[in-house]
């Protein structure tokens, strides 16, 4: 994991500079070793690279890829300080953990003490939280270096990372050799500039950051697919853990009963390492499970013959692209050929998932957003005729149409006369959806295999032809049910589309069976050999960075 990443970052040294000692080709023996998660730590330990060097390279990469708009805030100063501290620890021979000195990024809906937390909203522009989210604190406690806060849809409401106040995130694959070679610009004047594709969302900034090598791992959040969807579009691993396994304290909520901090990495092993550092009971979040969590290393599965893989037929959804369908079948065959039992299963209520989600999501949004009234923090309107008029103006100025629309419909669903018909019904349907999974897993299925998205990433100009609501309904369709049921699910990058864009498949596991889920995902990852992005960061209108060879990133 981090070994590959290290190599990538090490290779990214500006042209002209001689490679440093120990960089470039991993030394023999070391490269072949198992437990890739410890590779970068090992390199750090041995002094082949220092945390500060690592941090500086990531920071300069962030600058050279600024046009991706992946980051809202880059915390250069604090990151370098953290790297310095880490360096001291390595010098003393006392790193805190595998993550010590590893640069990471965090979606901008997690609270970070001293670093702006905006949720990509006017409402929280300039808001500096006095505390760290538990997950952020855990990463810092283990020595990770926080590079900055990543872009998203406003308050995580969206599936494109296009609807935040800081503008859309661009998919790094738009600038890959793979995409450029295969996509034909409609006219010469466009020159690829209008051809760039979206990252998916709402954790698009985190997915882009990991995909473009600016950090080794990033936190996203996942309420209806917000981690897995952009992971699929950006060709990275996106893990949504079981609800209750990781603390939500400090994650600015979208839907409390479905939100989970998500993990975005470049390989499954990395996801396991980060999961191990985050999981477990948090006294500050009453919905986390009390049981102790034991971090695990993933075994290299050699025999999948005891596995039973379920293929839910309902995921053959309308609008599913033929290439994804083909990829899905191929993956199923891969398991079958390796001796696993592959069976078609049915999750009959999944098709109600999206409409049910719209009610529950809107209701919780209406409630959660009530606190943004301009009094204690965040934006406050100048309107001061009365408290009520100040509230109204603050909320109109602070929230975008998507947020306001959900608040409005949520309050409608919660009205006394509507509560039974909407909210209660949606809760009942949610139970049915969850029960479908219980039944399937109860019948002996270990893991479900589904597509993550209906197709590869869409060009931005195409994407914005539909409104946020329509897009969310389409894009969450394959990921949403796992949130309804609280189950762990992971996107594994699987292949490239005809246009040279990433395609991913999703594995859905049983509650708290992350180890099994990730073990299978790792096996699968190894089989499919997803290609590394050939990022071509040319001199860009937005960035003034020097030309870099694409080879730098391979």
């Amino acid at each position: 994991m981090l070994r590959a990443s290290l190599r990538e970052v090490s290779g990214a040294s500006p042209p002209g500079e001689p490679p440093r000692r120990g960089e470039g080709a991993p030394r023999s023996g070391v490269a072949a070793a198992a437990g890739r998660a410890r590779k970068v730590s090992a390199a750090l330990k041995e002094g082949h690279v220092t945390p500060t060097e690592l941090c500086q390279r990531c920071l300069s990469l962030i600058k050279s890829t600024k046009f991706l708009n992946a980051y809202i805030t880059v915390a250069e100063e604090t990151a370098l300080k953290q790297a310095e501290e880490s360096e001291k620890r390595y010098r003393r021979g006392q790193p805190l953990s595998v993550l010590d000195g590893i640069p990471i990024a965090v979606k901008d809906n997690f609270n970070t003490a001293g670093i702006e937390t905006t949720c990509a909203s006017n409402m929280l522009k300039g808001y500096i939280s006095p505390y760290n989210a538990t997950v952020v604190q855990k990463l810092l406690d283990q020595g990770a270096v926080l590079l900055g806060k990543t872009n998203l849809d406003e308050f995580a409401m969206g599936s494109g990372s296009t609807d935040g106040v800081f503008g859309p995130v661009r998919n790094p694959w738009s600038y890959s050799r793979q995409y450029k070679e295969k996509s034909v610009p409609k006219s010469h004047s466009e020159d690829g500039e209008s051809n760039w594709v979206i990252t998916g969302g709402s954790s698009g900034g985190s997915a882009a950051a990991v995909s473009s090598f600016t950090c080794f791992a990033a936190l996203g959040s996942d309420t209806g697919g917000s981690t897995r969807n952009p992971a699929a579009h950006c060709g990275v691993v996106g893990l949504k853990p079981t609800y209750g396994l990781i603390s939500r304290h400090g994650l600015i909520p979208l839907v409390n009963s479905m939100d989970v901090p998500g993990i975005l990495t470049r390989c499954v092993d990395d996801a396991a390492v980060v999961l191990g550092s985050l999981a477990g009971h948090d006294p500050k979040d009453s919905t986390t499970v009390q049981d102790n969590f034991k971090p695990f290393e993933l075994p290299n599965l050699t025999d999948v013959s005891k596995l039973s893989i379920g293929i839910p037929k309902e995921y053959h959804a309308p609008g599913l692209s033929s290439e994804i369908l083909a990829l899905w079948s191929k993956a199923a065959d891969l398991f079958k050929n390796a001796g696993a039992k592959v069976i078609e299963v049915s999750l009959p209520h999944t098709r109600y998932s999206i409409v049910c989600y719209h009610v529950l999501c809107a209701a919780e949004v209406a409630s959660n957003m009530a606190r943004f009234d301009g009094l204690e923090y965040g934006h406050r309107s100048d309107m001061n005729k009365s408290t009520e008029s100040m509230y109204a103006a603050t909320r109109r100025e602070g929230f975008n149409d998507v947020v306001r629309g959900r608040i409005l419909s949520g309050n409608y669903f919660l009205l006394k006369q509507n509560y039974e018909n909407y909210f209660i019904k949606a809760q009942k349907v949610r139970r049915l959806i969850a029960n479908d999974f219980v039944k399937v897993f109860g019948s002996g299925v270990d893991i479900l295999l589904t597509p993550t998205t209906l197709s590869d990433a869409v060009p931005y100009m195409e994407f914005i032809k539909e409104d946020n609501r329509t897009r969310s309904a389409q894009d969450d369709i394959l990921t949403q049910a796992a949130n309804m049921a609280g189950l762990p699910a992971i996107n594994v990058p699987t292949g490239l589309s005809e246009r040279g864009l990433p395609l991913g498949l999703q594995f859905i596991g049983q509650s708290f069976q992350e180890k099994q889920l990730l073990t299978v995902a790792k096996w699968f990852e190894k089989q499919v050999k997803f290609p590394v992005i050939q990022l071509e960061v040319k001199r860009h209108d937005h960035g003034a960075f020097q030309h870099q060879k694409s080879a730098s990133f391979s």
Binding site: F110, N111, T117, C119, L124, S129, P130, Y131, A133, R248, H249, G250, L251, I252, P253, V255, N256, S257, P283, K284, D285, S286, T287, Q290, A363, E364, A366, S367, M369, A370, R371, F372, D373, L375, E376, Y377, T387, E388, Y391, N411, L414, L415, K416, Y419, F423
Partner: protein, 508 residues
């Protein structure tokens, strides 16, 4: 921030009228009808067919006695500087989550048990939404659907026609007890047209005790609330500093035939009255929904207690039940039985915080019979304290000093008149013992019989007419002579002995 403490009690949200034809909640703004303690004497309804019967239900918010707030670690403390007891959660900073305070749960269970409720082993939390400056999250976490305790009852006594000797016992059903958060405080500055918010109280745990509309008038309601207050104080689950003002106001309002709006009122200690807080019911739709950040609250009993769970992590209903202190009704019965005092005296003893303990301490330290001690406690001590607006704890005379004094009286070293004089000195709080005062003021009874005989003789000698009258058979006049001897001795003579001496001399 000015002090604008809200009394935590006496919220009459449900005062409605019923016609004889069946229950029908009155629309807001209709007149409530006054009644007397027996619930009779009611004006006729407009139809002229049947009399109106007033019905009183109560929802009482009692602040839970706990060190920290219901869902945060902030301290609970009275009169702290504004906004000094506010955690990130209390200020509703984005991303913060509620964590339930075990102590508050225990207090609610205790209260539920004391009010004969069934304790729900699984209860739920809900959000109740409304925009208000002192409600930072825009919603209050409460227990609307499945509260922690349901279906209880509260017995209370009240006297008929203000006669302490005629007490009747009544019962009001308790619908439910729910845990919920208190709000902050808003102070409106009209001159500068701004509102100041103090969040110290925001998130403090409340128990809302919902009573069924079983009461028929303000007096019943007041008696029920008073009994509830005593129970809460006995349990220590709440200090239950109720706003008697509010109850008084509503009683007056009702008795004046005024209107009781469905509203929550706040007690302003400066104005000495309550003021409307906010329109409570009206057309407001609270858009209730389940609180998603709190799992169901699970309580255990001895049977269901899982062996593998840490006892610090669970609340055991049976454990709390076994440790319930004597409730006021039991305490009263015990006082009556143990000390032979009148039932109404036991009410008075319990009604004043600390008075029972004071009484029992005096009894322990004196040979005087409890029946006599109670007179000194109720007539002398209590009326003095009331006159000077003091609590029992603030009494300048300790139970030890009073017992000392009563012992002097009991040993016939001083007369009761002298005892009252000593007590008057003791109130000054000059740290003198009763005996010192007796000595200083020469109040001890004249033990020398000869001296007393001489004084009696002198009185007889000086009152020829009276002596004649007595000898003629008018025995009443003897009292005048006794009084004169008392005056002569400045109360230092034993009236019984004086009477004997006078009678002896007059019969000679």
């Amino acid at each position: 921030m000015a002090a604008a403490a809200r009394g935590c009690g006496g919220v009459w949200r449900r005062a409605w009228q019923r016609g004889a034809g069946g229950p029908a909640p009155a629309p807001r703004g209709q007149r409530a009808v006054a009644c007397n303690a027996r619930g009779g004497a009611v004006p006729e309804g407009k139809s002229g067919l049947a009399p109106w019967v007033p019905v009183v239900g109560l929802e009482i918010h009692a602040q839970i006695s706990s060190n920290s707030k219901l869902f945060s670690g902030s301290q609970v403390q009275f009169a702290a500087p504004p906004n000094s007891l506010v955690s990130f959660f209390d200020a509703s900073l984005p991303g913060t989550l509620p964590v339930l305070n075990r102590r508050c749960v225990e207090a609610a269970v205790m209260t539920g048990l004391a009010l004969n409720c069934s304790i729900n082993k699984k209860s739920l939390f809900d959000r109740k939404h409304y925009f208000y400056a002192d409600l930072p999250a825009g919603y209050q976490i409460t227990q609307q659907r499945v509260p922690i305790a349901v279906n209880g009852s509260l017995s209370y006594s009240l006297c008929i026609d203000n006669k302490m000797s005629q007490m009747v016992t009544k019962t009001v059903r308790i619908k439910q007890i729910q845990l919920e958060q208190d709000s902050g405080k808003s102070l409106h500055d009209d001159t500068r047209s701004q509102t100041l918010v103090d969040l110290n109280r925001a998130g403090v745990g409340l128990m809302e005790v919902v009573m069924e509309p079983d009461m028929c008038c303000g007096e019943e309601a007041a008696a029920a609330v008073r009994e509830l207050q005593l129970i809460l104080q006995t349990l220590g689950s709440s200090q239950a500093v109720m706003a008697d003002y509010e109850i008084q106001r509503q009683i007056e309002e009702l008795e004046n035939g005024g209107t009781i709006l469905n509203e929550t009122r706040a007690f302003d200690s400066k104005l000495g009255c309550t003021v409307p807080m906010r329109d409570k019911e009206g057309k407001q739709d609270y858009r209730f929904m389940p609180e998603p950040n709190l799992p169901p609250l699970i309580l255990y009993d001895a049977k269901s207690l899982p062996a593998n769970l840490n006892h610090q992590q669970v609340v055991n209903i049976d454990w709390i039940h076994e440790r319930l202190p004597d409730l006021p009704s039991v305490k009263r019965a015990k006082l009556v039985e143990q000390y032979g005092i009148l039932p109404e005296h036991s009410f008075t003893l319990l009604n004043e915080d600390g008075l029972t303990e004071f009484f029992e301490n005096v009894v322990k330290q004196t040979q005087m019979k409890p029946k006599k001690v109670i007179g000194w406690i109720l007539k002398d001590l209590l009326s003095y304290l009331k006159q000077h607006s003091l609590t029992v704890k603030e009494s300048p005379v300790s139970s030890f000093l009073l017992a000392d004094l009563l012992n002097l009286l009991e040993k016939k070293e001083i007369s009761s008149t002298a005892a009252k004089q000593v007590l008057a000195e003791l109130w000054k709080g000059e740290e003198k013992t009763p005996l010192e005062i007796v000595k200083e003021k020469k109040l001890e009874l004249i033990q020398d019989q000869k001296e007393l005989e001489q004084i009696c003789q002198a009185v007889i000698d000086g009152q020829e007419n009276e002596v004649m009258a007595i000898k003629a058979g008018n025995r009443k006049v003897l009292n005048k002579l006794i009084g004169l001897v008392q005056r002569e001795t400045q109360g230092r003579s034993n009236p019984v002995l004086v009477k004997q001496l006078l009678e002896k001399k007059l019969s000679q």
